[in-house]
């Protein structure tokens, strides 16, 4: 009997041990508690962060289930850290514009500015200077300086789970409308900066998307080093 009891003890201990192993060893994600889902711009050192930039959120589904928005771009000035009214879309007041996953630069077919961009693989901090032989692309609709399409430009679309994720390790190097330089990293595409779980419902996935979070470092003096 004693043996039996001690065995039950061992058994219970191992069950506990197994349960203890459950602990999540992925790094804990400190959700930005100040992020309440509204648009916000703030600067820390040389880096400006933008939260919840709404980029034509989904207002309905087509009969075959394709989501659609109002089809309007949201314009943003990197030089002034502010949103720009869409009535100024034909001016050089804005540097980049967002609609769904499409990002415009104030260049070519998109605007009158001297803008442009290219996507470089690496980390935001790792990009210390724009190399001299870099080629800035300009917009020539339907081809844009920041390539559209899953896995091609800045994001990945998972068709099975219906989720869009900014590709990690992509720095968008931007030439502003006035010809100055910035490096930019898109950090999230969903409201409050949190990508829904793959298991989340369709409503959360559809209505939570098209909320950009990104950070950038702009060199007002026209320098190519950061």
């Amino acid at each position: 009997m004693k043996k039996t009891l001690s065995l039950i003890g061992i058994f219970a201990a191992s069950v506990l041990l197994f349960t203890a192993c459950k602990k999540d060893d992925a790094p804990a994600t400190p959700i930005d508690t100040t992020n309440n889902g509204t648009f916000k711009v703030f600067k820390v050192g040389n880096v400006t962060s933008v939260q919840n930039l709404i980029a034509d959120t989904i207002i309905g589904l087509t009969p075959i289930g394709q989501p659609y928005g109002a089809n309007k771009y949201t314009f943003f000035s990197i030089e002034n850290n502010t949103l720009v009214a869409s009535s100024d879309s034909a001016t050089t007041k804005w540097d980049i514009a967002f609609r769904g996953t499409t990002i415009l630069t104030n260049s070519g077919t998109s605007g009158p500015g001297n803008g442009g961009a290219f996507v470089q693989i690496g980390t935001f901090d790792g990009l210390a200077a724009i190399s001299a032989d870099s080629v800035f692309k300009t917009d020539a609709a339907p081809v844009y300086a920041i390539t559209t399409g899953s896995g091609k430009g800045w994001y990945n679309y998972d068709g099975a789970n219906n989720l869009i994720t900014p590709l990690p390790g992509r720095v968008i190097v931007i030439r502003t409308a006035s010809g100055k330089y910035a490096k930019l990293e898109i950090t999230n595409y969903y409201k409050k900066g949190v990508t829904p779980a793959a298991s989340a419902g369709d409503d959360e996935k559809l209505h939570g998307q098209r909320f950009y979070a990104f950070r950038y470092n702009f060199q007002a003096n026209g320098s190519k080093t950061f």
Partner: protein
């Protein structure tokens, strides 16, 4: 001096020779000594070691003499665990990981369920959906035992036996016996079995029928969607045996399984709830006539015919919407001859030839009336050599000549050394393959309920995409479009090595280390994007991967009545291309807690998704004297597993989304009364672990009770 040198050389040579001879003599005497150390007959484990296994070598061999990893699940184990479907008992094995999606599948040695061949009495079950053979299709009501062979077994079984083989062996006794059991439990789940067998003159007859019903359940709160749908399954089986003479035996088995599933769903579409009604039917027929003939003690042969068909249909009607009508029919016909020949006392040989033909019709392909077909001619040979009493070698190969794909050559070699009654070693190498299936060649599927993405089979994809492109529907061809070509079989090279030790009289320790290198894995890849941004996928031979790990099992007989069984598997997997890129550096990135990109560390890489690196089982079993009653408690542990590439870097790493690890606790107890009555009751998932998304096939805590009656006496003829 010259001579002296020569002499020295000779002397050295002689010395070396002497040494060699000495070592040789030592070895021989050692072997002679150990040869006398037969597996102890009175050992606690001798009964188990003397159990006959047929799956590993395709002839009858004692478990204790088999050189490849084999697990036997006995009828008693199945009964005491109160398992009713194949899934129930397989989930209690440490090295097997059950998957959900297209039914319940089984991962073996970290390989997907596509790569495990499932046999009933040595004949393959067909009718896989997306590579998964639903383990719920098989009742355990008349199962004598289940043999699980791990490691590539294509040398004997051909395609699909890449990770291993699970052979379900039905009870083929023709004693005069009637047995009936009924089990009832939570969710109105009922499982009833009737078995009757006898011999009329020389003719042995055994009949069996199983009926399984459940109301199903919903583990998703506030939803009419059923996690498990109401199902009714009926499985009758008839087995006949007729000895034509003392040397010739005729056997016939006919088995049928019918499943009917009701599905009532509420789908939310753009804020509107759409109600839908679905009906699913699966019919599974196996027909197996076999003639065995024994020419002499040394020579016997068997001619096996096998015909099977699996027919599945799914209909969905949606209120005011577009439903679907899915149909799948697979037919499989095979004729096979196997001859066993004992060449000498210590050398035996088996050789076989076979021909199989397969047909598939499906609405998942271009047209359900267009029949796809394949045929395979094959031959295999295997020899067993026992140079010393305690040393066994097995070598063999199989050649499959495939009509639709490249032919496959699958060798296997294995050895076992029984060093002493305390320890024995075994090692094996085998090559396994899996031919591309019809789905990978002909699928024509568009998911209208999620994202409108399409998957086209490799044989059709290029043509369909070209037609779409000419009609202006294609926005762009993706990089992997160029890789579309005729599919080749997927290959693996599998190594297993391990030992069984008896550190104490009542303790058995088994350890097996495995490594499977798989190449030409067929994966679905994005090949084109439509103008409306919906994605088109197809299949390409693209991936190389490995799975490796260690599996251990400890049995401890504490008292004659009380035993403990603990199993553990550690698993590592990797996609070889991904691993190469990570090692080269500057290719894969992930995100830190602030969503900022950082370079991925190799230590964060997890390899293939949907696999638990740690799996364990712990079972405590008590059996009263004279089998009056028994009780057991069984714990199953699975560590968390990665399910979704959350950071979008294309690979699976620690920063991605996981399913929670869990412990499932099951318990059951039973009493054997006089006159053949047995009553059993139990609870499953006592800790009530529920995971709506990742374990849709696992209900919360459930209870059951079973009553069995067996009448076992001679019926007057």
């Amino acid at each position: 001096m010259f001579l002296g040198v020569k002499t020295t050389l000779q002397h050295n040579k002689i010395n070396a020779l002497k040494k060699l001879m000495f070592i040789g003599c030592m070895l021989i005497s050692f072997i002679n000594v150990t040869a006398q150390n037969e597996q102890p007959q009175d050992s606690t484990f001798s009964k188990e070691l003397n159990e006959v296994v047929v799956t590993a070598t395709r002839n009858e061999r004692k478990l204790g003499n088999i050189a490849v990893p084999v697990t036997i699940i006995s009828q008693k184990t199945i009964q005491q665990a109160a398992s009713v479907r194949l899934k129930d008992i397989l989930q209690e094995q440490a090295g097997l990981f059950l998957t959900s999606g297209f039914g319940t599948g089984v991962q073996m040695q970290g390989l997907n369920s596509d790569y495990t061949l499932i046999l009933i009495d040595g004949q393959p079950l067909v009718g896989r959906t997306s590579g998964v053979l639903d383990l719920n299709r098989v009742t355990l009501g008349n199962i004598k035992k289940i043999e699980i062979v791990k490691g590539p077994s294509s040398s004997l079984y051909g395609s699909e036996a890449l990770a291993g083989v699970i052979n379900i062996i039905t009870d083929k006794s023709f004693d005069s016996k009637v047995s009936a059991s009924i089990r009832y439990g939570t969710y109105n789940t009922m499982d009833a079995n009737i078995t009757a067998s006898t011999r009329i003159g020389k003719l042995g007859i055994s009949g069996f029928i199983n009926q399984y019903n459940t109301d199903g359940y919903s583990i998703r709160p506030y939803s009419v969607e059923r996690s498990k749908l109401p199902i009714s399954k009926t499985t009758p089986q008839l087995q006949l045996n007729y000895p034509l003479s003392s040397k010739t035996n005729l056997n016939l088995s006919v088995r049928y399984n019918y499943e009917y599933i009701k599905n009532e769903l509420a789908v939310s579409n753009n804020g509107q709830i759409v109600y839908s009604k679905g009906r699913e039917m699966n019919k599974d027929l196996n027909f197996t006539p076999i003639i065995n003939h024994t020419f002499s003690k040394k020579l016997k042969t068997s001619l096996q015919l096998y015909a099977t068909r699996f027919e599945g249909s799914q209909k969905l009607d949606i209120s005011g919407g577009q439903g679907y009508d899915d149909y799948f029919l697979q037919q499989f016909y095979r004729v096979e001859n196997q001859t066993d020949y004992t060449i000498a006392k210590n050398i035996s040989l088996i050789a076989g030839i076979g021909y199989l033909k397969e047909f598939v019709n499906s609405s998942r392909y271009d047209d359900k009336n267009s029949r796809k077909e394949n045929e395979v001619k094959y031959g295999f040979v295997q020899t067993e050599w026992i140079p010393f009493k305690k040393l066994t070698f097995i070598g063999g190969f199989r050649y499959d000549d495939n009509k639709l794909y490249a032919s496959a050559f699958s060798p296997k070699i294995a050895g076992k050394l029984i060093l002493s009654d305390k320890i024995n070693f075994q090692a094996s190498y085998g090559k396994g393959f899996k031919a591309p299936d019809f789905r990978q060649l002909y699928l024509n599927f568009t998911n209208t309920s999620a994202g409108n993405y399409s998957v086209f089979g490799a044989l059709e994809a290029q043509h369909i995409i070209e037609v779409l492109n000419n009609a202006g529907f294609i926005k762009q061809y993706e990089d992997d479009y160029a890789k579309l070509q005729a599919l080749r079989p997927e290959y693996s090279n599998g190594f297993n090595a391990g030992f069984t030790a008896y550190p104490a009289k009542k303790i058995q320790l088994q350890v097996n280390v495995f490594r499977n290198d798989i190449k030409d894995l067929i994966e679905s890849r994005l090949v084109a994007t439509r103008v409306d941004n919906t994605q088109i996928f197809s299949y390409v031979n693209i991936k190389s991967a490995y799975t490796q790990g260690i599996e251990t099992n400890i049995k401890y007989i504490l008292t004659p009545n009380f035993s403990l069984n603990a199993g553990y598997q550690y698993l590592q997997t990797a996609d070889k291309d991904e691993l190469k890129k990570i090692k080269a550096g500057n290719f894969y990135y992930t995100r830190d807690a602030n969503n900022y990109s950082v370079l991925l560390k190799k230590s964060d890489y997890l390899g293939l998704p949907n696999r638990s690196p740690h799996m364990a089982t712990l079972k405590l079993i008590y059996e009263a004297a004279a089998q009056k009653w028994f009780a057991n408690i069984r714990a199953i542990y699975r560590s968390k597993w990665v399910v979704f590439d959350k950071d979008g870097n294309g690979i699976y790493n620690k920063q991605d989304e996981f399913a929670d690890g869990f412990v499932q606790l099951n318990s059951s107890a039973g009493v054997n009364f006089k006159k053949g009555f047995r009553v059993q009751a139990g609870a499953e998932n006592i800790l009530n672990h529920v995971d709506v998304n990742n374990l849709p096939n696992a209900p919360g805590r459930t209870f059951f009770t079973t009553v069995t009656y067996t009448l076992n006496k001679k019926i007057k003829q």
